[in-house]
C-alpha cells in the first residue's frame, strides 16, 4: 500500500473509521483481520509522521539566487 499521498489527517480519519467498523463486529473474521492489519499499518504511519519532521525555525531571505533559509535564533527553546 502506498502511503505517500495520504496526509496525516486522512490516515487518522481512516484509522478511526476502521476502528469503528471493527468495533461493530459485523465483519467476517477475514475482513476483521485485514482491517486490523490496515489499522496497525496506519498507526505506524501516523507515529512515523509525528517524528518525521525535524525541528526547523528559519527565516526566508530573498536574494539574487532566489530564496535562502537562515536559521532563526531559537527563541522557542527557552520555555
Amino acid at each position: 500500500m502506498d502511503n505517500r499521498e495520504v496526509t496525516f489527517e486522512q490516515a487518522m480519519a481512516e484509522l478511526e473509521e476502521i476502528v469503528k467498523r471493527l468495533e461493530k463486529g459485523e465483519l467476517t473474521l477475514d475482513e476483521s483481520i485485514s482491517c486490523f492489519r490496515r489499522g496497525v499499518e496506519l498507526t505506524k504511519y501516523c507515529n512515523r509522521k509525528l517524528d518525521e519532521a525535524e525541528r526547523s525555525i528559519t527565516m526566508l531571505i530573498e536574494g539574487e539566487n532566489g530564496v535562502t533559509e537562515k536559521e532563526l535564533p531559537d527563541m522557542g527553546q527557552g520555555r
Binding site: M12, G39, S56, L60, L72, G76
Partner: protein, 410 residues
C-alpha cells in the same frame, strides 16, 4: 388687505412645515451624508434615544440618534467629543426644526479610515471574498508553517514559543515583512504570494501585534485582502487584539484573536495527537481480540456437536434407510409386473374376438381392388371388367367382374 390675502394660497403652519420636510427629503445630499463636529448638550434619554447638538466654531446642528442605532454604538458619546456622524437631515414638524438623524457615529480622527474600511469591506463582501464556502480547511498537522510578520518583536517570538510548546519538532518558515507604515501592505501581499509560489508550507499565519487603527491599517488594504483570497494555501489571520477586526480577518480562512492563538490553531498539541493515536490503537486491538475470541468460541461449539463427535453415525443411519427403501422399491416393482401381465392377457382375449380372421374362417371374404388395393364395400365401387382380389381364410382369388347386379332389398 384682507381681500388680497384671501386670493393668495394661505397655508397652515403644519402645511408649511410639511412642505419644507418634503423638500428636504427629496434632496440627494441631505438624505445620506457624513458630518463632523463636536458634541454639545448631549442627553441620553431614558427611552434610549440620544439628543444632542453638533457644533463647530460658527454653527450648531440639532441631532438625534434613535435607540436602535444608539444601542449599537461601541462607545458613549459625551460633550466636547469630536465625532463623525452618518445620517440624514429631516424636519421635526412639531417644532419646525430641521435636524440630523444620526445612524452611525465614529470618534473623529480615525473616522476617515473607518469610512474607507466600511467601503472596502462592503465592496469585497459583495464580490464574495468573505464567503464561508470559499474558506479552506486548516490542515490538522501541517508539515511546515509559514509566518508573515515582522522578524523583530513579540509576535514571532510568541508564535515560536507556542508552537514549540505544542509540538517541539515544528517546521516554521518566517517571511519577514514590515507590519506598519507605507511599505507594509505591499510587502505583506507579496509575502503571501511568494509563499504560494515557493509552495513549501501547508498553512500561512499572517500576524501583527496590537496597535491603533492606523497601525493595523495595512491589514485593511485591498492588496492584502486579495493576496489572502487568492492564496491556495490556507491562511490564518491574527492581527491586533481580540477586539480588533481587520479586512484581512474577514478574508482569511480562519481568524485568530491573537498571534498566540493563531499558533494554537495551526498546530495540534503533540501529546493530544499521541493520546488519540494510542487510544485508537488500543480500541483496534480490543476489537480484534473480541472478534477472534468470539470466533474461537463458536468453533468450540461446532467441534462439540454430535456431527464432530460421531461423524459416521449419520452415514450408518442413511445406509439403513436406503436398504429399507430398496426393499420397498423391489416389492413395488414386482407388484407392478404382475399387474401388467394380467392386463395384457385380458387385452389379447378382447383382440381375438375382434379379429377378421375368425370371420373368414366362418366363410366370409374380403374383396379388394386389384388396381389400388382399396376395400370393396359396394357394387358401385366397381365396373364390369375390373380386376379384384378376394381374400379367403386360406388364400386369395384373382377375379374379373362379369356382371353387376343390384339387390332389390339393398
Amino acid at each position: 388687505m384682507l381681500k388680497m390675502m384671501s386670493r393668495m394660497n394661505i397655508l397652515t403652519v403644519s402645511e408649511l412645515n410639511k412642505h419644507i420636510k418634503d423638500l428636504i427629503s427629496k434632496d440627494a445630499v441631505l438624505s445620506g451624508l457624513w458630518v463632523k463636529g463636536e458634541i454639545s448638550n448631549f442627553k441620553n434619554h431614558y427611552s434610549g434615544h440620544f439628543y444632542f447638538s453638533l457644533k463647530d466654531e460658527k454653527s450648531l446642528l440639532k441631532c438625534v440618534m434613535f435607540r436602535s442605532n444608539a444601542s449599537l454604538l461601541p462607545f458613549m458619546p459625551e460633550d466636547g467629543m469630536k465625532v463623525i456622524i452618518r445620517g440624514y437631515v429631516s424636519v421635526f414638524e412639531r417644532d419646525g426644526q430641521y435636524q440630523l438623524y444620526a445612524e452611525e457615529m465614529q470618534p473623529d480622527g480615525i473616522g476617515a479610515l473607518y469610512i474607507a474600511f466600511e467601503k472596502l469591506k462592503k465592496k469585497l463582501e459583495a464580490e464574495g471574498l468573505f464567503d464561508a464556502s470559499k474558506k479552506k480547511k486548516i490542515p490538522y498537522l501541517p508539515r511546515a508553517i509559514g509566518v508573515v510578520t515582522s522578524s523583530t518583536g513579540a509576535v514571532i517570538r510568541d508564535i515560536i514559543n507556542v508552537l514549540s510548546r505544542r509540538f517541539y519538532n515544528v517546521n516554521l518558515k518566517l517571511y519577514p515583512v514590515q507590519v506598519q507604515g507605507e511599505q507594509a501592505a505591499g510587502q505583506i501581499a507579496a509575502a503571501v504570494r511568494r509563499l504560494n509560489e515557493l509552495d513549501n508550507v501547508d498553512v500561512i499565519i499572517v500576524a501583527r501585534g496590537g496597535g491603533s487603527l492606523e497601525d493595523l491599517w495595512p491589514f485593511n488594504e485591498e492588496i492584502v485582502a486579495r493576496s489572502i483570497y487568492e492564496s491556495w494555501i490556507p491562511v490564518i489571520s491574527a492581527v491586533g487584539h481580540e477586539t480588533d477586526f481587520t479586512i484581512a480577518d474577514f478574508v482569511a480562512d480562519m481568524r485568530a484573536p491573537t498571534p498566540s492563538a493563531a499558533a494554537e490553531l495551526a498546530m495540534p498539541e503533540r501529546a493530544v495527537v499521541e493520546n488519540r493515536l494510542d487510544s485508537l490503537m488500543l480500541r483496534l486491538r480490543n476489537a480484534i481480540m473480541k472478534k477472534t475470541s468470539m470466533e474461537r468460541l463458536s468453533l468450540k461449539r461446532i467441534e462439540g456437536s454430535v456431527a464432530f463427535r460421531q461423524p459416521f453415525n449419520r452415514i450408518y443411519q442413511d445406509r439403513m434407510l436406503l436398504d429399507v427403501q430398496k426393499k420397498y422399491m423391489q416389492k413395488a416393482l414386482s407388484a407392478l409386473n404382475t399387474n401388467y401381465r394380467n392386463r395384457l392377457s385380458l387385452l389379447a382375449a378382447t383382440l381375438d374376438t375382434l379379429s377378421p380372421l375368425k370371420s373368414l374362417a366362418r366363410g366370409y371374404s374380403i374383396t379388394k381392388s386389384k388396381k389400388d388395393g382399396s376395400l370393396i364395400k359396394s357394387i358401385h365401387a366397381v365396373s364390369v371388367g375390373d380386376r379384384l382380389e378376394i381374400s379367403l381364410t386360406d388364400g386369395r382369388l384373382g377375379c374379373t367382374v362379369d356382371s353387376i347386379g343390384e339387390d332389390n332389398n339393398g
